[in-house]
């Protein structure tokens, strides 16, 4: 039994490219003075979150389900940490929610393998 393969839709490509750029730009914010002020362990948490978000975008780029799943986990982790540390950016949350909705639409068409 062969797999049905789908080519990556343009919207997913756009989301992934924007995601990579955002990850690249948010990397330095891990060790910015603002982040350090939030707490000693916050840069470590934030760094881990950014790394996982990057991996999620790699998965999304390859049109893999695990990419969407990892993206979902990082989204909730980001919201929880943001609420706990009172550092939640509403625009970021809304943007990622929109991304999540788009990804959910294509989820069933994505490859379930690694």
């Amino acid at each position: 039994m062969g797999y049905i393969t789908y080519t990556r839709p343009t919207i997913i490509t756009v989301l992934a490219v924007i995601g990579f750029i955002l990850v690249l730009f948010s990397m330095p914010s891990v060790f910015s003075p603002d982040t350090r002020d939030l707490g000693d362990y916050y840069p470590a948490l934030f760094g881990l979150l950014i790394s996982f978000r990057f991996i999620a975008y790699v998965g999304i780029w390859h049109f893999k389900r695990w990419g969407v799943e990892l993206f979902l986990y990082t989204y909730f982790a980001n919201v929880v940490i943001g609420i706990l540390l009172d550092s939640l950016s509403p625009i970021g949350v809304i943007y990622r929610f929109v991304e999540l909705v788009v990804l959910a639409i294509y989820y069933r068409k994505m490859d379930r393998n690694l």
């Binding site: 990397m27 350090r36 840069p43 991996i55």
Partner: protein
Amino acid sequence: MFFLSLLRESVSFALHALRVNRLRTTLSLLGITIGIFAIIAVFTAVDSLERKVRGSLESLGGEVIFVQKWPWTFGPDYPWWKYMNRPLPKIRETEEMMRRSENIDAAVFNAYVRKTIYYKTSFVENAQLLATSKGYELVKKFDVHHGRYFADQEVETGNPVCVIGSGIGDALFGGQDPIGLQLKLYGQKVEIVGEFAREGESMFGNSLDNMVVVPAEFAQKYIDLETDQVSPSILVKGKEGMSSADLKDELMGMLRGIHSLQPGDDDDFALNEVSLLTAQTGEIFRVFGTAGWVIGAFSILVGGFGIANIMFVSVKERTNQIGIQKALGAKNWFILAQFLCESIVLCIIGGAIGLALVYVGSIIASKMIDFEFVLSSSNVILGLTISAMIGIISGFIPAYSASQLDPVEAIRSGM
């Protein structure tokens, strides 16, 4: 258990890569090492400097409000001409303040003057003399190493007594117990009743080490304590549980009353507190931190590309080996984890070398200049986090591409 064996295998792969391609791996790691060194060195220097400045500021009196002529705020619109005509704080105002308020724990008059002090044939030129009124021990934390601090009666009557700093003690008495000896000040014999414990240098020159403290009632017999030259101030400390804002409000009303100001008149005094300076210095250190962060971010970026490059080369070199592993049943995620761990380990090694360099550098710098640089645990965590993050981000794509290799093609590539 499985994870540990995978980790051990990955670490051994990373170390093997280091050993086999020593020069190439070292050059690639150099990017991470320099990046981590740059960021953490700047953060260490800024944190150490900030700790020192904050410590010095706290020693001024964290819970104390300073009633002075000049405010501590600075800026382009500083109306100095208004402040110049303000009256100076006076000793008798401290008594008036204590009489009018039940919320004040202590109100202490302080004035500073430079004076040469003598003991027999020895002398200390331009020693800092602090003339203080009753209650100084309530507004300033200090320890008396030898002897005692003044009794209230000695201060009120202006007895010729003094408490000296350890620096003055060393200079005049060579570390001997000075209690009971007499200094010569303003031509008068002044008995030493105590010696302060060593405080260390302060960035604001307010360390008690090089001070001679005398009762203000004594000093005012010989010098005018109500001139700009002696920088007079009144230090006010509120009772336990009273907030600084409440104390300020109360002082504001009280001083306006004492100075007989009309409702429309501007205040003719300044209420300064250490938190004002702390906030200002915090902003300055933030700028330094941001500068270090920008420099380090670029170094780390370059280092990350270096690691990604070396990982792609590593995958290419070991394609045949990957094929064999897969043919023997290794799963995709196993290959992925193997290369990802290798990348993380390599980056952590690079970062650890950078941290070690900062540590050694901070020890050397501390010895070379009279300033203590401390590599804090939070900076160590930050350095290792950044290294691990770079390892994940720069190693994931090469590791993923390795995991997606077709075993047959991969084995064939090595033939």
